[in-house]
Symmetry: C2
Subunit: 236 residues, 2 copies
DNA sequence: GATATAAACATGTCTAAACTTATTTATCCC
DNA sequence: GGGATAAATAAGTTTAGACATGTTTATATC
């Protein structure tokens, strides 16, 4: 089976990836099976080995193939369910929906770091960091609660920023690029304070996203986002 | 700046990616800046252009760089927060924690598809599909609720499978590979039935994951997973 | 000045060949 | 049989060179 000589102008790798995917989906190659090696596929498809390599690496990233040196390439036994979550920038998300964005600072002070955030940041609990709490609004209705800890050691310039004017999220995005980030997702019942700020009933289920970013100086910031009840995060 | 001649044995692309990342993090190259083109970087690093290309494509995937033909490569203005969520296979997750896995079928029948699932699957509401409801247990304590719709048109073999013996999740994973999947995450208060099955109080916040898979014949299955309160999904 | 056309350019992709590295398989020795 | 060692193998990576493809910029034309 050679590539259709006309069709693929400069996307042979993608074509090959599709073809391999098809063979897996149609169970021509079954879970656990070893598939032909790169050199062999290169010949059957009439392309260079590097091109096959690119295609197979793509499928390996997707989780469809398991590749090991010398052992060859196999169809993954338990295709793991991976999906890429995108946490949008609040303001952009709201404005993209044609709504008016605004935000309000609830608190901005130095406080000792609680244990949960300390764990996420890899810092000692009780360390005094900058603590920000904000509400983000769409058309003056609460959209998201933000509870953020900022490590001035990693972002010295932060001292001189006035977050009453600027959105902390955006300032950090623009001024504190990160090397590494961790993220987790959970659900929690709104406590009394959250209910008041989000203008909902206490106990309603909130989607919670925790995100911590790091640069070479250490943890930059750890933020807990609590979304309006019913909010859906979509993954690709 | 040439690569340290000794260190990188066969990982120059990664080294270059790290170096570019460093320059961005240290604000040598700032958000929105155009960075030198591939040919130039290839010379400064003393490698082939293909190697630079690989490194920069990596960073573009990470969302750190914006690349456009002819226009060149720029540091992303608004680094989007992307993270890869992995939804583990229940049994493996439970057994990996050293617990005993078991499951129970609550219902298994043909029913008309409700609107929400129909939307996700791209099918007409009311269409009669196979409907499965299960509880997964760890050490005999409820761990996860599963509410699944299966499209027999995409998986004809399903008719002959006895899910009282086999876990539907695993059967599908092994026997119905998919082309494409969609996933979303939200939070919901446990209703009375969910509370009973999960042995929790009604109203507790549950993390909900909806996942739909497709193959070339159409939607295969759409599943709603409701996790125990407090469950955390971790993204990389 | 507006608009079509051509040139320039940076990234995108592919190739063929070489070398590296992890891992398996075979072989030899005890 | 057990264990160390060497050979074989398949993927991982890099290179230099080529051509393709979008985009921008400059140029010519109306």
């Amino acid at each position: 089976m050679t590539l259709p000589p006309k069709i693929p102008p400069a996307a042979k790798a993608l074509f090959i990836a599709d073809e391999v995917r098809r063979r897996i989906v149609e169970r021509e190659w079954r879970q656990g099976d070893r598939i032909p090696d790169e050199a062999e596929l290169a010949i059957t498809f009439g392309v260079a080995r590097a091109t096959v390599n690119k295609a197979l690496q793509l499928l390996a990233e997707e989780g469809l193939l398991d590749r090991r040196r010398r052992a060859g390439t196999r169809v993954t036994l338990n295709p793991v369910r991976k999906a890429t979550l995108t946490v949008p920038i609040v303001r952009e998300q709201i404005e993209a929906a044609g709504l008016t964005y605004s935000h309000r600072i609830i608190a901005s002070r130095r406080s000792p770091l609680p244990a949960s955030s300390a764990r996420r940041m890899g810092l000692a609990a009780g360390l005094v960091l900058l603590h920000l709490r904000e509400v983000h609004y769409a058309n003056n209705r609460p959209w998201q609660l933000e509870d953020r800890w900022i490590n001035p050691l990693a972002v010295p310039e932060i001292e001189s920023v006035d977050f009453r004017v600027l959105n902390s999220n955006e300032w950090l995005v623009r001024n504190a690029p990160y090397f590494r980030a961790t993220m987790d997702v959970t659900a929690a019942n709104a406590d009394r304070r959250e209910a008041r700020l989000l203008e909902i009933r206490q106990g309603q289920a909130l989607l919670i996203v925790n995100r911590t970013t790091f640069n070479d100086l250490g943890p930059i910031t750890s933020v807990r986002l609590a979304f309006q009840p019913g909010h859906v995060l979509t993954a690709d």
